[in-house]
């Protein structure tokens, strides 16, 4: 090893160093994503693809059920678009943030080098959420064309950009914050259970396949599902994409998504600090 004289680093202003570290950590996460792009697409696409295929292609073709035939079937295919995008986002938000934490907080504590990067632990947690949110948006975008192309009948979308461009990122941050909460509050070896015990029920009861207002016929369920954050994302994305499908009040959608985001971020960041610091 060649001997070189070491010139020591002087401490830079904290915010400047923290900003550089935050961006570099994001780049690291996106590099890892790029390496695993095939896996990312597979785990993002397969489930919604099959769902759309069976419900909106197979069923109408064989004359079986959901929504009946004709206009009703078209209505179903249309309302499903927002729903499957929302469910893909929540799935990805949890997957992208919570699953790597099994490795990060595992025996080797791989996260240590990133914990030692010159930014606060809270900022590191926020970086994880930002990376997860980017992946949730990518998942939503990946699912979108399938929801248009696969159905046997035509899908009628009316894109309202203002809603889409606000709900998509807001919802993505909410999904990633849920991932942070799950990843830090659930024991690493039990994270896989989260998918069967949390994500699946959330999806089926998340107004993915039906608008919230149609639940009026089952009043107890209509009010039971209001604790499910996915409900608001499904409703919000339908608001942004499918004109004519009933949705809950716009203000409620935005306020509740924001409220969930703030609450989950607080719980998640506190959990992250607990995991990282002794």
């Amino acid at each position: 090893m060649a001997t070189t004289t070491i010139t020591l680093t002087e401490a830079k202003p904290t915010t400047q160093a923290a900003r550089a570290a935050f961006i570099a950590l994001l780049l690291r996460d996106l590099t890892v994503l790029r390496k695993e792009l095939g896996m990312f697409l597979a785990r993002t696409i397969i489930q919604p693809l099959l769902l759309i295929f069976v419900f909106t292609y197979v069923f109408p073709k064989i004359g079986q059920g959901v929504g009946g035939g004709g206009a009703a079937a078209e209505g179903f295919s249309t309302l499903l678009v927002g729903g499957v995008i929302a469910s893909a986002m929540i799935f990805q938000g949890i997957q992208a943030v919570a699953l790597p934490m099994v490795q990060d907080f595992g025996f080797t504590r791989e996260i240590e080098d990133r914990v030692l990067a010159p930014l606060s632990v809270n900022a590191l947690a926020l970086e994880k959420v930002a990376a997860g949110a980017i992946q949730a948006i990518l998942a939503g975008i990946a699912v979108f064309p399938m929801a248009l192309v696969v159905p046997a009948n035509s899908v009628h979308l009316t894109v309202r950009p203002l809603y889409l461009l606000t709900i998509l990122p807001l919802g993505a941050v909410m999904c990633a914050s849920l991932g942070l909460t799950v990843g830090t509050r659930v024991e690493p070896r039990q994270v896989s259970l989260v998918f069967s015990l949390l994500v699946i029920p959330m999806t089926f009861l998340g107004c993915v396949y039906y608008p919230w207002s149609t639940l009026s016929k089952i009043a107890w369920l209509k009010w039971a599902v209001v604790v499910n954050p996915l409900v608001y994302l499904s409703e919000g994305l339908r608001l942004a994409l499918a004109k004519g499908v009933p949705h809950m009040p716009v203000v409620a959608i935005y306020v509740v998504i924001l409220a969930f985001t703030v609450a989950l971020l607080r719980i998640g960041i506190a959990g992250f600090r607990k995991r990282v610091l002794a």
């Binding site: 001997t3 020591l8 401490a11 160093a17 025996f107 080098d113 030692l116």
Partner: protein, 323 residues
């Protein structure tokens, strides 16, 4: 050490862990630690497992929050300004914390980026370090494919990449084969020769002796002695240490042997009796054996050695470093 030069300073630094049930541990892991490490020093914390060495490093590197007391690295309060303090420290932890999602090269490249290097700077620094640490031919490999020694070298390369004011090495050679250990020692010496301040922990007395300019002997979260290795060994007041294994009550043997001419002190430790001799001890050994025999004690085994830091530890605590 003049306090103006101290690059690490702790005052009353204490950590009492909280158990999962919310109860505070009975004994603090680190107990009112006062420490000063000077610029350019290799400073060692020597002690058995559980002595509080890793917790001390954890607090100095912002990962463990002290229960009380204060700590500064490079003049920055690590408790009040952890994000800023992290700019000045490099850490090699006991476990392999390499990023398994990245290649060997990328582990360095992104580390450089975390610390504000441009893409170009980080690339050239990474390549230079891979060369310097004999890892250039592994640049594109997954970190899974590295041997223990190579992984350790990569972790050291990574830890010094951003030119930290202080490098913390937590048990840098634990679990390494003898050859890797020697090359790690060489790396530490070279870094220090280039001006790098290093604080390391170890439970290998040879490591503390060979590497460190000053050593703090720790047990139960406290510093029992702090000096250069030479002075620490001199403090035992002996030039030869005889360890006597015998049947019967060690305390009785201590009494018998303390009285023998040439013996400066004797104590029971770790199931044997340690006898410190002055003046070469040439004629003393037969006298020890005769004294034991005269007292009716059967001596099973005798070994002779120069005082080591282990001797110092035993004389301070009555137990061995590795137990």
């Amino acid at each position: 050490m003049a306090s103006a030069e101290a690059i690490i300073r702790t005052v009353g630094l204490t950590k009492r862990y909280i158990a999962p049930n919310g109860q505070s541990a009975e004994r603090p892991a680190v107990d009112h630690l006062d420490l000063e490490v000077a610029h350019g020093e290799i400073f060692g914390l020597l002690g058995p497992n559980g002595a509080g060495k890793t917790t001390t490093i954890g607090m100095l590197t912002t990962r463990v929050i002290p229960t009380s007391g204060e700590a500064w690295v490079g003049g920055i309060d690590v408790v009040a300004n952890p994000a800023q303090a992290k700019q000045l420290i490099g850490v090699v932890t006991q476990t392999n914390t390499l990023d398994r999602s990245l290649t060997v090269y990328e582990n360095l490249f992104f580390h450089g980026r975390y610390f504000g290097m441009s893409s170009k700077e980080s690339k050239s620094a990474s390549l230079r370090l891979l060369e310097q640490f004999h890892l250039a031919d592994r640049a594109g490999a997954e970190v899974f494919a590295l041997s223990g020694g190579m992984a350790q070298r990569l972790m050291v390369a990574r830890s010094i990449m951003h030119r930290p004011a202080v490098l913390f090495l937590d048990e840098p050679t634990a679990g390494l084969d003898p050859q890797s250990r020697l090359s790690m020692w060489e790396a530490v010496h070279e870094l220090n020769a280039a001006g790098q301040t290093i604080l390391l922990t170890t439970h290998y007395m040879e490591e503390a002796d060979q590497l460190c300019q000053r050593v703090a002997i720790m047990d139960h979260g406290q510093i029992l002695a702090l000096d250069t290795p030479v002075e620490l060994k001199r403090s035992v007041d002996a030039d030869t240490v005889v360890t006597v294994h015998a049947s019967g009550d060690p305390e009785a043997l201590v009494t018998v042997l303390t009285g023998v001419e040439g013996v400066s002190s004797a104590s029971a430790a770790a199931g044997a009796v340690m006898v410190n001799l002055r003046g070469g001890g040439r004629g003393t050994l037969p006298r020890l054996l005769m004294a034991a025999e005269a007292a009716g004690i059967d001596v099973d085994d005798v070994s002779i050695a120069e005082p080591t830091l282990e001797t110092v530890f035993i004389s301070l605590t009555g137990k061995e470093l590795r137990d």
